[in-house]
Symmetry: C3
Subunit: 159 residues, 3 copies
Amino acid sequence: MDSAATALQLQVQDLNARYVQAIDDDRLEAWPDFFAQDGRYRVTTAENVERGLPLGMIYATSRPMLRDRVRSLRDANVYEAQRYRHVIGPPLIAHQEGRAVHAHTSFIVARIMHTGETTLFATGRYHDHVVIDDGKPRFAEKIVILDSRLIDTLLAIPL
Amino acid sequence: MDSAATALQLQVQDLNARYVQAIDDDRLEAWPDFFAQDGRYRVTTAENVERGLPLGMIYATSRPMLRDRVRSLRDANVYEAQRYRHVIGPPLIAHQEGRAVHAHTSFIVARIMHTGETTLFATGRYHDHVVIDDGKPRFAEKIVILDSRLIDTLLAIPL
Amino acid sequence: MDSAATALQLQVQDLNARYVQAIDDDRLEAWPDFFAQDGRYRVTTAENVERGLPLGMIYATSRPMLRDRVRSLRDANVYEAQRYRHVIGPPLIAHQEGRAVHAHTSFIVARIMHTGETTLFATGRYHDHVVIDDGKPRFAEKIVILDSRLIDTLLAIPL
């Protein structure tokens, strides 16, 4: 692994580490800025991906749409009742085109209720397309592929 | 940490990241290729290691034996009913001999049932001996040391 | 990310990987040596941090105090009944002053009882101040910020 590949891998790792930290810190207003202006964010399941099912759960196709989403979450006031903790594994670089890169990162998310009860909430993998946008690495696309099909209650939550 | 040590650490990390991705993606046929031709794969428990007990659960001592194992799993058709998600921590280089390296990596595995139910399935540590074989890093030995003594039901599953 | 930043990030990652390995291996006597001579170790909750509450749960403000703590744990003989497994995410460098660095690292801890039962025990984040002390990276301060408010039973356990 040469030093350019090392730097790239750490750059993707750092982007996801900052991304999940913002979510876990409830700094949702910072969430859209991890995406490019026309960045896409999608949540789906491994089962749907394997079946080639159409992308049923597109959440947003631009940064303004992500901002709207955050505002809705704040208005609905549902987010504050619990806390999340993501732990991510090392990124795998799938392929690279110039300064853009496609990478896969496994994650596990714990949910901590206001009572203190902690449960294993979600597991899965990020399929990320990372580009340099406005001088910083950002997601041109982030696909969150959940291992479980039980995602109804997840719909409200950035993952 | 110099750049050679950095490169080595990332190489081991990358190997394990690809290894667990293959398992989590149910690409079991790719699993033996992460091992050297005469690579050894063993699953044991922390308790057995501490007691110095003989290596009771050797699964395979060569790549062909690992291939047999995968075929058995496919024939038994037990593997498809659930899904796994490994998250691994950073590798610790225990020692290095030329281009061979011994490293330790903590892991946690979630199991996702067909119903969607997700549980904490296994935790432990990989003790890996990584060599360059056929031009690629592969496991000369991979010892999976499980924290729990309850491993009966694990026997079928590559970890 | 230049090579100096890469080296720094891996140095912090390596320190925490060795730190959690010592705990998970029950090598508690090695635990104080991860701290500088006057290193501080504190466990608190995210809720307390957000409320700006005074630092109620300071465990130790020096390496000798950490050693005392380990002796108490050994005398009380409570630690051996279970096993822990930490998995840490990548470190985020918050800021750097010369050779000292402040970094954040997410963690998840599983507890494995003597019976083999495994549960999700704790999640949270390390806020570390890492310095070079006696030629090695060590913690000048390690703040363990737990996500859950239910920490009564944690008090005995190094995290």
